[in-house]
Symmetry: C2
Subunit: 219 residues, 2 copies
DNA sequence: GACTCTATCTCGGTA
DNA sequence: TACCGAGGTAGAGTC
């Protein structure tokens, strides 16, 4: 990893064109060859960047970074204040908890949180256009496709609608209803779901985790 | 901007929980208070981060970063290799060219580029499921919903179809047609648009900019 | 390699 | 403030 703090200008030409006027910024050059230009604010996004793989040509005060897709990033250094390098080695990676996959586990274990009397048929039920998160049976024994999101938005409704339409072609399964299950369902998603004849339900992640730990205590 | 390269562990608890085992990484602390931890690969995403506003408490080898939402980031330094700081000052920001917002401006100013005789009713015309980019009237005075994309793909057709279906419920507006306007319309999007009875048009961005500058010359 | 979907998505706009 | 949509989305997983 090489870190350069310098007054510089930056030009990117590729999927769009973007230019940065002269200012003092951080230029990061990582071990995999990628380059990122950061301002002194905004943690997440670099102002400009070029992912690996690419080729970096240092020509005096100019870095020309090109990738195979024909995109180019050109950094022109006017005044360098810091220039340090250090070998970091491999990163072991991070572990996460609390994302959609975990919500799916919890709902698979507690399908009644989606609807009273629901039972699980299987997770990741294949449809031909991708797997539906959960396939359940309701209290009357009819199939229900459940799409799980952390936040229920229009995209999720569309996705669910595609699955339900597809599953209803199977004479052994139909009639199949659809339910969008999310910690939070946005108003527009509610409207569209109703339009499409789909249900939606907001589930409480912490409550589900509570059920989980209750059961662990019981057994 | 302060840059620390160090062997460290990181724990984030907030919207999810994430932990990083000991390894050598870059810790950035920017002037606005935000903190980001970067591995030596992957230009864009930090492994862990905390946006401003937040409060950073340095307690010996431990940085505790908390934000008002109750999220916390804890960095424990084991061995520091680099620790540099530099004042960058304000960044003037970057200018972009070629994105959808600009294309929308240009088409709002020149609706005839979407269709002969088209006039603009308004931009971001609201529907219950989100605003449609442009609402126009065609030469016969009928409403036309225009969805603008840099690249016209299936998603854009779906989006447009939803708007048109929705707008056609309004007796004051209907009949409403739909047109997908993009610099490039993919073959699959063309087929789907035709299936749905929607139109599509490829617009020349540079030509529109030309019109714009012509007008500037005239006045 | 192309396609799909998630994201502590970020970021900007607007009501 | 909350909501909504775009992004040079990036990045991970699957086919």
């Amino acid at each position: 990893m090489r870190l350069v703090i310098a007054r510089c200008t930056v030009d990117y030409v590729g999927r769009l064109s973007a230019t940065l006027p002269p200012a003092v910024r951080l230029v990061m050059h990582k071990a995999d060859g990628c380059v990122a230009v950061h301002a002194d604010g905004g943690a997440y996004k670099p102002l400009n960047w070029m992912n690996a793989p690419n080729t970096l040509i240092e020509d005096g005060p100019v870095w020309a970074v090109c990738n195979p897709k024909g995109e180019t990033l050109r950094i022109t250094f006017e005044e360098v204040f810091v220039d340090v390098a250090h070998d970091c080695g491999e990163d072991p990676g991070l572990s996460k908890d609390g994302v959609e996959a975990h919500l799916q586990e919890l709902l698979a274990a507690h399908p009644h949180a989606v609807g009273d009397g629901y039972t699980l048929v299987r997770r990741e039920y294949p449809t031909g256009i991708g797997p539906v998160d959960l396939l359940c049976r309701d209290a009357d024994g009819n199939a229900v496709a459940v799409e799980i999101k952390r936040r229920g938005e229009i995209d999720g409704v569309e996705q669910l609608a595609r699955y339900v339409e597809r599953l209803n072609r199977d004479p052994l399964l139909r009639p199949v209803r659809g339910v969008l299950a999310a910690q939070q369902v946005r108003p527009q998603a509610r409207v569209l779901a109703s339009d499409r004849g789909l249900g939606w339900v907001e589930v409480d992640y912490d409550e589900l985790r509570g059920l989980e730990s209750d059961e662990l205590r019981l057994f």
